[in-house]
């Protein structure tokens, strides 16, 4: 159980960390204006496109990774255990 917790936490922190770095490059207007969540540039070059794609991917990786390890996998285990109990009791 604690294994799943630290995996989820590592996914969340690692993903958001990468997201923060890409956001610092591409979606930050300035130090004293909007940081990290400013407008996405309209016509990025090829590297900008790759970076923005990675930014989105890392964000959803963090969210879905945490949900997977903290909710889905434990729920699946509980469901399987409940199913096994029901089968053995019948």
């Amino acid at each position: 159980m604690s294994d799943e917790f630290i995996k989820g936490l590592a996914t969340l922190c690692g993903g958001l960390f990468g997201w923060m770095v890409f956001s610092g490059w591409y979606t930050t207007e300035g130090f004293e204006s909007t940081q990290l969540i400013a407008e996405v540039p309209t016509d990025p070059a090829i590297y900008g496109n790759i970076a923005l794609t990675l930014r989105e991917a890392l964000f959803w990786f963090a969210i879905f990774g945490a949900i997977t390890f903290w909710v889905l996998i434990p729920a699946g285990r509980q469901a399987r255990a409940a199913l096994r109990d029901r089968r053995s009791s019948n």
Partner: protein, 262 residues
């Protein structure tokens, strides 16, 4: 091997000192079973397991070699155990700093202009609580005997409030020496701590009351600054008081007692 620190035993020559450490080896139920060894087969769990198993083994060997009778100090050796752990943690955070310094674009602002005063003047965020105490003007009473005048200026009142808070913090170590290992052991002082933390956060929020967005009701914020700490303190006290029933005071005391060798 003679135990020179123990005068009672050296004078009594007939009674042999148990210097082989036979009585202080970890009892058998602390040794992992073969099933437990097999279950941790791979990857990080295997590594962690081997690390702790080796530590346990070395601790057991040290206890076996020890001339202390009933040594009750539970600890790992500094080298390698503590140092390996500390070095890995240190490397991780140094790596994080290096990565951030290399990967995040640096901000080089305009040079400071000493000839103009900025519109917003604030202390650093960790001094907001003190800054907030300077804004307690509404609490400075208008005295009837002075004809509705105030005894001192609001600024003086705020500075005195700082003295009260700092004085209380300085007083706490004399009231409670902090021998509790867990909040449940002293619910009242834990509640006092939570009171202080919530009050610090709220008074910090109050100190920047002119910067909050419009939906924040500043008068409500002012009231909450003095109400919420009491609420949080009472809730903490109630919860910890309720937790005392299941808390194993004896077990905790046994783990943290460092008894010198007899």
């Amino acid at each position: 091997m003679t135990d020179t620190t123990n005068t009672e035993d050296t004078t009594d020559a007939t009674e042999e000192v148990a210097a082989d450490g036979a009585g202080i080896v970890a009892p058998d139920d602390e040794t992992p079973t073969w099933r437990e060894r097999k279950e941790r087969r791979q990857g990080l769990s295997r590594l962690t397991y081997e690390y702790f198993e080796r530590s346990r083994r070395e601790d057991q060997d040290l206890r076996t070699e020890s001339s202390y009778v009933e040594r009750d100090v539970l600890a790992f050796p500094t080298w390698p155990h503590e140092m390996i752990r500390n070095l890995s943690l240190t490397s991780f955070f140094v790596g994080l700093i290096l990565f951030l310094a290399a990967a995040l674009p640096p901000h080089l602002g305009a040079p400071a202009d000493p000839s103009t005063t900025p519109a917003i003047i604030l202390p650093d965020w960790y001094l907001y609580w003190s800054f907030g105490l300077l804004k307690l003007g509404p609490l400075n009473p208008d005295l009837a005997i002075l004809g509705g005048q105030k005894l001192m200026k609001d600024a003086t009142y705020g500075v005195l409030a700082n003295l009260v808070v700092v004085g209380f913090i300085a007083l706490v170590p004399f009231l409670n020496k902090g021998s509790a290992r867990r909040p449940v052991e002293q619910p009242f002082w834990s509640a006092v701590g939570v009171f202080g933390v919530v009050f610090a956060v709220m008074i910090s929020g109050l100190s920047i009351k002119n910067l909050w967005p419009a939906w924040v009701n500043v008068h409500l914020l002012f009231d909450m600054t003095f109400l919420l700490p009491f609420v949080a303190g009472f809730i903490t006290y109630a919860i910890l008081k309720a937790m005392r029933e299941g808390y194993m005071f004896e077990l905790n005391r046994r783990y943290y007692r460092l008894r010198p060798p007899r």
